[in-house]
Symmetry: C3
Subunit: 443 residues, 3 copies
């Protein structure tokens, strides 16, 4: 064993290795959020549309991540002023870790939309939109913020630590826009304008999805404190890990208070504690803190989380009753309004000294929120309007009635259960065309 | 690049950063156990009580973690002799990582109870108990053990590495106590005292929960080897990681032998391998080793795990037939008796040299187990007795018959499936008050 | 604080600690794949066989890992030329981390088989096979490859980075062999030889399992880059982490292209995008890249993943229609043929400079694939043929008709749902022998 003093080059290796390790682990956690979204959304749709929702989630990831590899990441750097540098052009394989870390955030934004357009959007329409979101719409948002840092006011920069607005706000607003253009599901509203509730098929899957998402969210928020170590002029220090404990604490407290806030408002309104409100409130609390977990005080985490949860039943009701938009999985109240709320509360709940001017910081936040919202509404609205104009946005009324599982995928999600529509014969053998293993008897 | 010798301060930074990274990752894993408990318990209750069970799990975490932040952590340090230091009073944000690491253990103890009182406890009663558990009951247990280390005998200290008794034993005993005070579900026992079985609604969710728990348990046990590195007088060494391989191995072997042990006993008793016994046996094996994974020999892991699994069917039967306590999710045989068993076996299966006196060490373990059990029974019994006395412990017989999902939460978990009670009309539209999205048609 | 230059011994400690941390984390992720397999397989079987499938998954892990501890790991080192070194004989507890890392790969191979023999294999037959697989069959494969590295041609060594052939190919081929010996489920084929489809009971569980598997797969592939740091002659460098970004990227892209490839072929064949094909295609893409994520170019990842997905519907149809083998969960097209495909494509898609001779490298791959396949077919076929000859391979026709849950486990998975066979009385009390909690009224 050589006993000589270590050199600074060893320190560089240590920093690189440990930071890579951390980013990989949190990236895996964020990826796992797709299982959460899949279960949360599947639980909130009718049993005749479950396979459609699941397929959308699988294809969101699959189509989106390849498009983000070929186009989106490069477009983001282009918008950010770094030229078009596609992800496949690299001399350092480990730069792909950074790409993948960015990709899992992008795919989170993409998958949120599927919950809003459930039950009536054509698969090809949804995939087309996902393609464009991964290639252009979302990368533009990261281009003007995380890449380009163009937004500021009076010396205060727009602050969105982990994507409360950039990822979740964007996704929630895109979902609401798409749901508006698409129109509500059949039977969602009566002729007099009153709303019918179309309950999801499984609260168990919905809550499972919620808890998977919360698990992955620790990767999302705490993982955005991506540098365990920093090295400057040969001096080693904790990087973002110097404040990682705050991120972990505020994320936890806001999550908890989101659930409590939504539960309290639901209880006050109806005398009962609606399970789905508690679950979605927990998620709204997470969304609320996502822009600001690095700077928020402990009491701010209580406040932001509590308000993000409390607004959920109110905003959901407003969307449903006043705007009459059929946002199936409540993605706007959970991701949209909660994301906007937390982003705007940044300067008011920040640790003293975080900003020089609360007023200027608020305006910077307001500009950022407005810019992202406007772009998202225009781009998303345009895509779905075109799809609608060419008759490709929505399935036929017959297919909608029948369920998208059969019409779009040729499968039944639960061939042995359900409302007497089972085509399974007594012997347990299904001989019709509708099957779940994808095989075909006569091909 | 500056090529000068590194300094000892760099070593401090490396130790801090890597240890933080590890503790954060395992904390996330332990948090994910809530998804496991939610699924395990949901699967073991009737479909009419699933949403209630899920809501309890969400609120256990949400209410419990905020209470532990505001009160519980401080109370634990107070009991441990360190004064009342609430979690929000800190000058170092990274101390919140330690708080969160403690909080996920506390919430594990709390959530175990919900499985025992399923199907008849009022939501407000359960939340009240959770509040008190997170504020006082559990922190007292950690205060006298991990914080204060008050328990020892003849120079041998009470040993509970990851909470086999402190977390699981405590939770299992609390659950049994609460279930006893609350009384059995309607129809659970006949007039002649014989027991009816009320099967859970989904073995698939129960097994999913089991495997999620096992995954998270690696964080629970292996993660309690919380220090990758230690630094003493400028000398770097592996901290708890010097024996982390033993923790990982014994946890794995005990888990496996728990499943085999329960399967073998079930097979011997009935000639069939009951799925739920295998699953719960796997968990009992994990509970059994949790107090002692750091010190147990490989053959000890086989023994502890096998016995923890084998006792499950026997203890479950004893609780059900003799004590006539309706422990719905078998939390006492899984967490209580298995935890006690493993804790008491400590000196007999430990690596030679671990203890000076096996007899003294056993007495120390016995004192610890007795103290924790006595406190838990008294505190839990008192809380539920008061709730019962004021008529707030249990839902009305009508609500119990109807199911807690409707009466406490106003939802149906599976509106499209089940026993012909579905209120969904042919067109797939539900117009009654019972809905799953929390909205209300006329509010 | 002592301010003296650090020593090289510190570097050794850092390398050991961080590498242990990484391997532990990825090992946990790989373990979690058992939850994925359990859900994927449970979703693809009839509701009357779900508990059987779940029990098999629990026992695969439990029996397999103890056998691998006592025998398998030692047998692998014996075959590899290192003598019989059982896992329990060690002077360094941290060597158990390496053992556990190997064990989770072994158990992956084992569990694949259960999907192929679903719905008719006796539990004792399956457990017997699992015992032999963990003790001998799989360890022989790793013995001649990862341990012994015996296979090469013209100076090119057989290359299988994370087990595309060694784990998945082996498992898929073993499953097909066992399913062939066992014969198809009753009613799977008509007298004229045409096939009936027997759909699984829940696409939601199947897709959940898929996404859990994909999550764990990051541990499987990226984690096989197991050395964050390497230390040679006192010089610190990144170990496998020098190319870890490539592993992460190719794994991601191949997964995505697998889903797209299968979706495209399914759509071309039937005009619909079958959900289960998309899910299994995603997994096939992962299997395809598993042998070669460390060396494959970005375009190679697109190609391997796309082909692995595209072959799935075609190979599945061939197995079903031509070979008439009832591979219930499509484990051969997903794990077998996709694993073979990726392993053989190694030299053609590798980064330039990886191999000296593409032809020789291809032959080396071909030898490895052939050797593993031949051994697996012979060993697996022999075991199941013996079991069949002594009448212990398959349940009786009555039990198969009734479902294995009742006959083998004495439980019903969903006592409240399903095809009118529920034995639950109106009051929610089940008094028959078939129960899910394992208790027995009269024992």
């Amino acid at each position: 064993m050589v006993l000589e003093p270590l050199q600074a080059s060893d320190l560089e290796t240590i920093v690189t290795g440990v930071n890579l390790l951390w980013v990989l682990v949190v990236t895996f956690l964020i990826f796992f959020m797709h299982a959460g979204f899949a279960m949360l959304e599947a639980g909130q749709v009718r049993s005749k549309n479950v396979a459609n929702q699941l397929t959308k989630n699988l294809l969101t990831w699959s189509v989106g991540v390849t498009v983000f590899f070929l186009i989106g990441a490069g477009f983001s750097s282009l918008v950010g002023g770094g030229g078009f540098v596609p992800a496949f052009e690299t001399s350092d394989p480990n730069s792909w870790v950074s790409w993948l870390f960015g990709a899992v955030f992008a795919m989170t934004a993409a998958t949120i939309v599927s919950g809003a357009v459930a039950g009536r959007a054509k698969l090809r329409a949804y995939v087309t939109y996902t393609f464009l979101l991964a290639a252009v719409i979302y990368p533009f948002v990261t281009g003007i913020t995380w890449s380009g840092a163009y937004i500021s006011f009076g010396g205060e920069a727009f602050h969105d630590f982990a994507g409360g607005m950039i990822v979740h706000g964007m996704g929630g607003i895109a979902g609401l826009t798409a749901a508006y253009v698409l129109g509500p599901r059949m039977g969602r509203y009566n002729e007099d304008g009153s709303a019918n509730v179309i309950p999801g098929h499984s609260l168990t899957f919905a809550v499972l999805g919620t808890l998977i998402l919360a698990f992955g969210w620790y990767g999302f928020n705490v993982g955005t404190a991506a540098t365990v170590f920093a090295l400057e002029d040969g001096a080693l220090s904790l990087g973002a890990f110097s404040y990682v404990g705050r991120v972990a604490m505020t994320t936890t407290i806001a999550m908890a208070c989101g659930a409590i806030g939504a539960a309290a408002v639901a209880w006050a309104k109806t005398g009962k504690v609606d399970t789905l409100y508690v679950a979605n409130g927990l998620l709204a609390g997470l969304v609320g803190i996502t822009a600001i977990p690095d700077t928020t005080t402990w009491w701010g985490a209580f406040l932001v989380g509590g308000l993000a949860g409390a607004q959920l039943p109110i905003v959901f009701s407003f969307i449903e009753k006043r705007l009459k938009i059929d946002d199936v999985c409540a993605v706007f109240p959970v991701h949209g309004s909660a994301g906007v709320l937390g982003t705007l509360m940044f300067p008011f709940v920040a640790v003293p000294g975080t900003v020089d001017s609360i007023a200027n910081a608020f305006v910077a936040q307001l500009i950022g929120v407005t810019a992202i919202a406007a772009w998202t509404i225009v781009a998303t609205g345009a895509v779905w309007a075109v799809l609608k104009a060419i008759g490709q946005a929505r399935v036929t009324p017959e297919h909608e009635q029948e369920g998208l599982d059969v019409s779009e995928h040729g499968v039944e999600t639960y061939p042995e259960f359900g409302s007497g529509e089972s085509v399974v014969a007594d012997g347990g053998i299904m001989t019709e065309d509708v099957r779940t293993d994808g095989g075909s008897k006569d091909d």
